[in-house]
Symmetry: D2
Subunit: 381 residues, 4 copies
């Protein structure tokens, strides 16, 4: 695993835990973690249960005792690490968004497809696909329970930037993060919308906004993103991204990704309306799926609150009795289960790098549209 | 009152009821109702409590025993009736949207401003301003409780057109209704957004869609919109309208108006995010306002569900003890109270025709943008 | 109508409005209202639309131009007014609880049954039966949609007495009100539980509590309950009533009625669990019914939020399109419609005085049980 | 650890995970797990990460390489295992309810207090105290944020016994489980009520019911509780328990524990009403706490939905950014953290066996009251 911050903690937990609840085809070993600071990575290895550590990812990807490389770094390093790992014949799990540019994502996708010929697998970590409620939603749509999909409304609402003194962390710098709320949050919504509907976004008309353009730089010494220093720098990414979309299957959608939705902490919401029903989800009620079935008689129809904790629900046979909730990190545990199972079976884990590229192209089209006063920009397929 | 269908029933109730709960400066008399079909208007007069009736609105607006003309007809007749009524020196309350075109709305606004010089008042019936929860939201924003407004997310979700056999009622014909979900539902959202934030929409980037392009014509004999005949006709308005917006005060917004949101019956929703707090509303929970106050200590902050039924809340001193809910038609009763009070006081009732024109210009810009692939179109001020 | 305070306002509205929305078999005339204070009743007649007024109910019930007497006074006067009205051959609609004692209720019931032989009808005003959501719940249970009823959980939560300086209004004096939260709120829950389940409460085990035993007397001059004077008096009724119950059909239930549920304004809640499903209701979400159907497949089962605003729902064909909510006073309008329809049809309006007596006996058993340390007391049938 | 079924899986996860997220004063080693079936316990050791296993708990508690014994077996074996472990000088964590009888609980408590003199610690596993939302509720009450506590309403609603063919698992047999819904679910509610309010239950008036008295015996071969055999046996515990309570601090409460609340899967709900505010919780919305603050101005007061995911909330500094939810098993991880920290600090972990005994006495009083027709039975202190 490369990187050991927020995502690294979540991924480590998943690697440690997946085999304790699921029957995996392989026994997992947490061989090595990698980070640039030796004291930090040493502590991380100890804390998260990795047997060894490296301070240079180039060394890590060459180690013969490693089969899988899990990339948990900021977006600007995804491409070089993934390319090197694939070249070294390692299976790759890469955090989202796949890259910071379409060009990088294309190169990664091409490399992944080449490596695939040698049995090397790759996957991009859109973990919301592994929320049981969204996995169930996908099943219901595939079964035709809501008919033809016509509308998507997706918003991903956070509010940690409302405080103008929140420091200029790496996520607010274009050269590290690629974009702001758009790539960090909107990428999840885009992937989820395409995953759920089975339709691809064909064009987008967008508006980006940065409300607070200057912020304190993080304090030098600590390097902690949460501590403000006395100097200030420019915010070079969007605080909020709004866009409308047309899908290739005839649906339309409206999207919002923002870090300025005061009072909302992690409201990754998506609703899908179809000719025969509707579905709704909010990550702040992670274990619930709303489902409206037009087949019900009119007098008793209504959105159902499905508590997605039955043993027949996706992933739930591994966990607790009905009504006992799962949390955020379970999505990573499920991701490890699916990735490892696919690798062992010689199957293609999903979402593929090609799917990650697809999201990247939507992100790029959003930025192009915003730069062109919102005119709809087609997304190349 | 001209027109006696859905809106006519609601307005009649309001005229009958306002003086029973509020202290009005004038005693109200329901002098005459007008409709084209003599048997229908006679029955309506009897049912709704009007003392007399007319079958030609030209006669009605000339009657000397009438002080106020209330226009509840489809949008294509708003302009001629309002112009004639104003010319005859009658105060005018006109249903929304103000007209079917900007040109009509401009003419009406000019006439209203001329009439105002003679003490004749006019108002457009955006009744959602009279929902106590939204009136409270307006107060809180004016008091600065959510700080600088940055984002609006507004959706108005209905689903009565999901059934492809629902007949081609007048609301689905451009020549009668002007537009579809956009003017019928979106107009409410636009007015509410501008009313709440105190900012005007400066530009919009839009997408319109008609999912079901052909529908059965209503059965000839009955004229009832709910009964399908055997012939079919073209739907000439939008089923759904999506747009992003920039406000003149720096806020941005995302809007959706649709009659295809399966499972949602009348979800007129609006959320406003500011630098110091947030507000949320859903007409399907009509008596509630969500309020997040950043001034709360972090450990106990959260969206409050304000049950807007306290005697100190707008309009509530006239009604029931706390916790006893109001319904949809109360908004019309409140509207009558405010209109009559303003007329009696020689004050300007709000929203004025000029505000209605402002909404009309946004609607027109939405249509222009949609025709121009979504590029942001400025709204003339 | 006798009495013109809170209930009088609600009943007046209902008498004025029922015929405007429903097709009634009789044309309603608001002939006279009665109150002890001449200036107050004169103002009430004018405000609420009554043609005349009386200051002595004995005169009112004798007037030959009156067919129906509607009793909206505190409980201590229900019996004498109802007995006189029935003796005079008037149909009687009486507010709940039917009386302040079982003896009074028995006398009223006997009188009602005698009068019935002469075609005189009577009904007790448990208006929650006319909430569309609860009427729908009754239909669903009758249709067997939740199977055999096994459990009821009912609470009626208000909080207006949490303030220890709230004055000693008539509702806090045993001689006027009979009991406190028990009779005022609990009576609704008891009636609703028996109405919904079709089972009668057979025994109860109870606990009553008065948290604030002394309160300021209301200011003399105004007589308004909301204004505190400087003297204090004893609270002689319960602030909260808790009890468990056994029903004659095998169900069990738990009940709470309280005016000390801080933050709850009018949360009249009831849930019913059956062998095939469950139902839930909260008057603070008046237009919604929760419904869980065990017949659904396990993977998509969940409580549905039925928005009870479809034209096929009870009472709803008279009102607005789906999704447009009704309020508290609609229950009284529905009550008038049902009462008048039954009287005109020569049918027995429900709930009858006998049903009101049944509730009274449960209230008495609750008080007996509380006095006997909670031992279950059978309710005579 | 003794026992490796549902609770064993949850406890194992907690022992493995606590040190990965929290800074613990001791490094944890999963030394041995114990179960009667050798193949089953061997598989459990492998699956859950225990280094060795035993098939006789008497051996386990004597092993010198073990410091802590964690008891996850049915209630009938808690006493002998705990007594032996304490006698052997092991710290003991014991699942709830503490025992199947007051006598056993008294013996265990006496033993725990004796062992304490030698520095041996013990704790009973009421894991709901470690739900962050309930820990926060406790803090708020302790700080006086809701003033004097007056009312508690607690229900624990499950529905897995609605199916009459669900087999007669050990939880339905008095000799194994002690009682039914009462001890399994009600014990949590009782502990939570006493924990939150800081008041003790002083008396209870109760009603117990068994709706389905005969069920299929579990299939012999598999021993799985979910598989029904062809023979039937008597259910010897309650399906539902209802009771009212008086607390020693003047509060009153109403409690329901049931496995027949159709549609509710694990709705452990508790509300507390005080003189200055109110709190509400539902385990099906595990990460939320409702809070009503009477200190708010009347116009904007309302129940807040606190999303208990801020780093300042109890236990949350170890987990994810705001808005990212925790699940059911986190309560066990928190329990291990608190238990281990107390043991290392030489402090008394809470809840103590004495607190578990206190709950046991309430359970016994509930059963006594139910046997005495609901008369209030005092709980010995």
């Amino acid at each position: 695993m490369v990187g050991h911050a927020f995502m690294g903690a979540a991924h480590s937990h998943a690697w440690r835990t997946a085999g304790r609840f699921f029957d995996l085809p392989r026994r997992l070993e947490l061989t090595a973690v990698c980070g640039r600071s030796e004291p930090a990575v040493r502590a991380a290895a100890e804390r998260y249960g990795w047997e060894s550590y490296e301070t240079d990812w180039r060394k890590l990807v060459e180690r013969p005792d490693i089969d899988v490389v899990d990339i948990c770094t900021p977006g600007d390093t995804h491409a070089p690490i993934a390319l090197a790992a694939l070249a070294a014949g390692k299976h790759v799990l890469c955090e989202k968004p796949l890259a910071n540019s379409v060009a990088e994502a294309e190169e990664m996708t091409a490399a992944a497809e080449r490596a695939r010929a040698d049995g090397v697998r790759s996957m991009v970590a859109f973990n919301y696909r592994r929320v049981p409620a969204l996995a169930l939603a996908r099943e219901l749509i595939r079964q035709g329970r809501i008919g033809t999909v016509r509308q998507v409304r997706a918003s991903y609402l956070q509010d940690w930037l409302v405080d103008p003194e929140f420091p200029l962390a790496w996520r607010l710098r274009k050269e590290r993060a690629g974009s702001g709320a758009l790539g960090d949050l909107g990428a999840h919504s885009i992937d989820a919308a395409q995953f759920l509907t089975g339709q691809r976004i064909a064009s987008v008309g967008a508006l980006l906004e940065t409300f607070v353009t200057e912020r304190p730089l993080p304090a030098e010494a600590s390097g902690l993103s949460g501590t403000a220093g006395s100097e200030r720098g420019q915010v070079t990414v969007d605080d909020a991204a709004l866009f409308t979309a047309r899908f290739d299957g005839g649906a339309i959608g409206v999207f919002e990704a923002t870090r300025f939705a005061t009072g909302h902490k992690n409201a990754m919401r998506i609703e899908v309306s179809g000719s025969a029903g509707g579905l709704s989800f909010d990550a702040e009620s992670l274990n619930e799926l709303g489902f409206y079935d037009r087949a019900e008689d009119a007098g008793t129809a209504g959105f159902r609150r499905i508590l997605v904790t039955e043993s027949t629900h996706p992933y739930l046979d591994a966990w607790w009795p009905p009504g006992h909730l799962l949390g955020y990190e379970h999505t990573f545990t499920h991701q490890v289960r699916d990735f490892v199972t696919a690798v062992a079976d010689g199957a293609d884990p999903r979402p593929s790098f090609a799917e990650g590229l697809r999201v990247q192209r939507v992100l790029a089209a959003v930025e192009s549209s915003a730069a062109a006063l919102g005119v709809h920009i087609p997304v190349p397929s």
